[in-house]
């Protein structure tokens, strides 16, 4: 039997909206993942250090304060530099400021290196199914 894949959760940067990441952590744990919950206000560098030490397969970030784009500039490059280029990256929440189309956010964060981008009211079960599928694609599950 393969061991459960490890995923890291947390809100990135100075964002203190902790409910989303708590719900997410619980749902992924119930779905059979080994969850490392970092809680709120996690710096991009800390996600990287923890991913190294825990051998994580994916990082699931949440952000509701609209500043994630600033927080995550160069994040994928740092991940690659740290030998974590194949770790799957998901992000969800309110990812930009003001009224705008989610499609814009999605395009922006995909460009930043995220594999999947979710709007504020995403279906958690769909995200879980997505991750199993992505892990299978990478032969990690």
């Amino acid at each position: 039997m393969k061991k459960a894949p490890t995923v890291i959760t947390g809100t990135v940067g100075m964002d203190a909206h902790v409910i989303g990441t708590k719900v997410l952590s619980r749902a992924f744990k119930d779905a059979g993942f080994n969850v490392v919950p970092l809680g709120m206000q996690v710096s991009p560098e800390e996600f990287i250090r923890v991913a190294q030490e825990t051998d994580a397969s994916a990082i699931l970030m949440t952000s509701l304060y609209g500043m994630a784009e600033l927080d995550l500039k160069g994040f994928k490059e740092k991940m690659m530099e740290a030998g974590l280029g194949d770790v799957i990256l998901y992000i969800g929440g309110i990812l930009g400021i003001g009224r705008h189309d989610f499609k814009e956010d999605e395009a922006k964060f995909k460009k930043l290196g995220f594999d999947r981008v979710y709007p504020p009211e995403a279906d958690l079960n769909a995200a879980i199914a997505d991750l199993w599928a992505d892990l299978k694609k990478k032969k990690k599950a």
Binding site: M14, N34, E46, V50, Q52, E53, T54, D55, Y65
Partner: protein
């Protein structure tokens, strides 16, 4: 006066013996003689016993029941190898410091051939191998074990305290070192958890059973029963006892101890270090309640140059540059100018070592304004500060020196104590109290309570 207990510290330069009367919880004699660890450690010890014997009668039983700690022959020299510098490398280093070790090397990530050669030339007493949370990364620690297996036999003992899932592979990698490889629980079993206790215990066992043998300290066993711990551990045990008390006697509560020596400065805090103010965010690596840091570059004898350099950034007394030369090599000050200079150096030693030990607040700007992030321990509310070691004890103005540990107005970001009671261990018996605490905690506590002098 049959109830005498002898407590010994085998140092690199001196062998110290403290004789305590356990009926009255009082010190009856203190002896300090040059160390003879390079030839035969028992010669110096015999001399010290003789000196003690001139002021109080000691029996063969007294001698047998003596307890000793040691920092002779370089102390307990350890190299720590982890994975991520801020996580398992840091956890391993803290665990080693907590066990009373002297850190002689620290490495992270996958070791290179050159780093292994460096470790060989350091030739540590113990190499602490960490890396990976339990169930986390195995690749790095296994790689490091394999690299170290290819080294010559310069590493005397291995303690493995990393990812448990990697243990089997490490065991195979290090099979040639079989009887010198010790496995213990992961120092960082999961992110945000620091578990040093089992590792500490293992290190101390190895120290007692193997290292003192190798260093010629075990010869003392011909005269006394046992050498039970490295000297810094004894200091830490004393600090714990004074803070926490023991069954039947209460302690002083959270405290900070500064020990300024000739070569290094030790700082011990027994405190939770939780934020004292609101609206502060914490780092994710939890701080140990019992924490030791040691500054290898700060000491009044061998490291006076560092202190001289640090003084340059401050207001200095007249003729400082000339006067300090008279204090080189650990000479005690004579005359007013030298006394002022010595006091300043000691204060800077205390200030710098405590500043490095305590936590700090970092201001981060978020969308809702300033946010404070706390790195390390908040010791602002600590109520007791204890000074010890030659650097403090031999100062003319001990209060002024100890105040170097206090929080300074306008520099609230450094989380030093704000208004603690200042106490002085002027006979330098902290090690003796730490040793005695292992067998007679109530007596040890009562003794140190009598000995500590309040400084106004």
């Amino acid at each position: 006066m049959d109830n005498i207990r002898l407590l010994i510290d085998f140092g690199s330069t001196f062998t110290k013996v403290v004789a305590v009367d356990l009926d009255r919880d009082e010190i009856v004699a203190i002896a300090r003689v040059p160390s003879t660890v390079d030839t035969d450690i028992t010669i110096g010890l015999e001399q010290a016993f003789k000196e003690i014997g001139s002021s109080v009668k000691i029996t063969e039983t007294n001698r047998r029941k003596a307890l000793a700690c040691s920092s002779a022959a370089g102390g307990l020299r350890m190299v720590c190898v982890g994975f991520v510098p801020e996580l398992t490398s840091e956890a391993a280093t803290r665990a080693a410091l907590g066990a009373g070790a002297k850190i002689v090397g620290r490495f992270s990530y996958e070791l290179s051939r050159q780093e292994v050669e460096e470790i060989e030339s350091i030739s540590p007493d113990i190499l602490l191998l960490a890396g990976g949370t339990d169930g986390g990364n195995e690749k790095v620690i296994v790689h490091n074990a394999k690299m170290l297996a290819g080294s010559d036999h310069a590493v005397k003992n291995f303690v493995v305290a990393g990812n448990k899932s990697a243990q089997d592979e490490i065991k195979i990698a290090l099979r040639d070192f079989d009887d010198r490889v010790y496995f213990t629980r992961n120092v960082m079993p999961e992110i945000g958890v620091f578990d040093a206790e089992p590792c500490n215990k293992k290190i101390r066992d190895i120290f007692i059973n193997h290292i003192i043998q190798a260093k010629g300290i075990a010869k003392a066993k011909a005269m006394i029963d046992d050498v039970i711990m490295p000297t810094p551990s004894a200091g830490l045990e004393a600090a714990k006892l004074i803070a926490n008390g023991c069954e039947g006697a209460s302690g002083f509560g959270e405290l900070l101890v500064v020990d300024v020596g000739g070569a290094t400065t030790n700082v011990y805090s027994i405190a939770s270090g939780k934020p004292s103010g609101g609206a502060v965010v914490l780092d994710h690596l939890p701080e140990p309640f019992v924490k030791r840091t040691v500054e290898g570059d700060i000491g009044l004898k061998y490291n006076i140059a560092t202190l001289e350099e640090l003084c340059r950034a401050r207001e200095r007394p007249q003729n400082f540059d000339r006067t300090i030369k008279n204090l080189y090599g650990g000479k005690l000050p004579v005359g007013e100018e030298e006394i002022i200079c010595h006091d300043l150096l000691s204060r800077v030693a205390v200030d710098t070592a405590v500043t490095r030990h305590v936590g700090r607040l970092e201001v981060v700007y978020g969308p809702s304004g300033q946010v404070l992030v706390q790195h390390g321990k908040d010791l602002t509310q600590v109520k007791t500060l204890i000074g010890t070691g030659g650097g403090i004890v031999f100062s003319a103005n001990q209060g002024y020196v100890l105040q170097g540990a206090l929080s300074q107005a306008g520099n609230d970001a450094i989380l030093k104590p704000k208004a603690p009671k200042l106490l002085l261990d002027d006979c330098y018996i902290l090690f003796a109290v730490g040793l005695l605490s292992q067998v007679e905690p109530v007596r040890a506590l009562s003794l140190i309570k009598k000995q500590l002098k309040l400084i106004q």
